[in-house]
Symmetry: C2
Subunit: 247 residues, 2 copies
DNA sequence: TCCGCGCATTGATTGAAATCAATGCACCGA
DNA sequence: TCGGTGCATTGATTTCAATCAATGCGCGGA
């Protein structure tokens, strides 16, 4: 029966090198959504497909920026490190997200795969040229950048002014919302990243993250059937905790 | 065109309503730097000048976005508030900075004047149209947005992973650098914003901000001739404290 | 001149998150 | 089967920033 699909060599590599865009999972939400079906062929011409294994580094802080990417499967983590090893994760990218919005010549952040990842890869040159040819494409990328800026600013509020439980509640809600937008399961929510990643995203230690999970569980707002799966039991309650309730 | 004679000198104002761009203080660094001298006339046609008195609110969170602004004098603070009154300042805008990069229809942040402020104001419609006419203008705004995104991400690192003294050192250095870029004094650095503003920017309380100032003063890294004027005595030392030294 | 007010600083105390330390548990290879 | 390893959780202790409280100081108005 379907056992075959479950056991078959998973995820890594069902993307076809050509003609794949039309049937792509993220066709409607990624950059390429700016282009009509016939125009996407032009995008496909300059596209190369790339897979990452868990924890593989895509780019490192300081690397010259040569390529930009559209994420088609898996989750990417963006982080910035301090000289002494402290780390801040500035965001998680989901399928349909674009990587390469912020920088010009040099990468200001490190990008690593969380679990297996699939990407469409473009040289900055090619993408630049295509953007000139299809202004819609440029506009969409600009819109993405603006969205990323709003997210980054919301994150500043989270980091600067929320308490640990509030941070976690806010994180879970935001991730759930984004999962929905990206056609992933919003409610039994999957958390592919480790507690360390969550801590480095929220500006906390793993212990405090763990304790905050427990608090949310004990107050009945979430359930944790497994460490990497959360059920948002009381969405409203979570919003109240996250300081995001505007009655 | 004899523009000089037409200019009415209002309270704050050395800006002229017409023909002023050519001699504007921020002509070389603001958005308008994308345009040649003759093209700037087109920008000036759709521009209105506006002054703000200290603490005047330019826009409030949730307001519909109808106009965008280019700051010509003074400092603007951008903030986001939580329902219970907690506040996070996401950035300070200096002369030459642009306001209206992040949002589409609705303002996601409040913008208020710190001290007296002068702005060039444009309707989003007009600016949109001009951007279509002068792609260079659009490109420059996009570049601004990308820069703002990088700043916001650096801020996330600051908020999530630096200690109070590190935060303050980082703030002073960044502000000093930006002041220099904006043709303001970089070393006897002026801090027009209140301690409360600094606290809400760094994610601290005013007391902790004050104590951090004292620590930096006691370690000889800065001097504080007045509460709103800082001398960066040991720039390297400050960088080391700010966790920004890459040997 | 003096009072009151806003703002920054300093001191004392408290409390919450970091740190230190231990346990549990799943997974893996010997 | 049995250690060993990595990760999450929980508990005990410490530390440092928040809170509470007071003082100083410049400024404007009565």
């Amino acid at each position: 029966m379907d056992d075959k699909t479950l056991t078959a060599p998973p995820s890594l590599g069902f993307r076809k090198p050509c003609g794949a865009c039309a049937s792509c999972d993220v066709r409607t939400m990624a950059v390429c959504a700016a282009l009509a079906d016939d125009e996407v062929a032009e995008l496909e011409k300059i596209m190369t497909s790339r897979n990452l294994v868990p924890d593989e580094m895509l780019v490192s802080e300081g690397d010259p920026l040569r390529r930009v990417y559209s994420l088609t499967a898996g989750v990417l983590r963006l982080s910035i490190a301090l000289p002494d090893g402290r780390r801040q994760i500035t965001g998680f990218l989901l399928p349909g997200d674009y990587f390469g919005l912020a920088d010009d010549d040099v990468h200001s952040a490190t990008a690593e795969a969380i679990g297996a990842v699939q990407l469409c890869s473009f040289t900055t040159r090619d993408m630049q040229a295509l953007m000139e040819r299809f202004p819609k494409l440029k506009d969409r990328l600009h819109a993405f950048t603006r969205m990323a800026l709003r997210q980054a600013r919301d994150n500043q509020v989270m980091l600067g002014r929320l308490t640990p439980v509030e941070k976690l509640a806010s994180f879970l809600l935001t991730l759930s919302m984004r999962a929905a937008e990206h056609k992933l399961s919003a409610n039994p929510l999957s958390l592919p990243m480790s507690r360390t990643d969550i801590a480095d995203y929220l500006g906390l230690t793993i212990e405090t993250v763990s304790r905050s999970f427990t608090k949310l569980r004990n107050t009945g707002l979430i359930q944790l059937p497994e460490p990497h799966i959360v059920e948002l039991v009381d969405n409203r309650g979570l919003q109240a905790v996250a300081g995001m309730d505007f009655h």
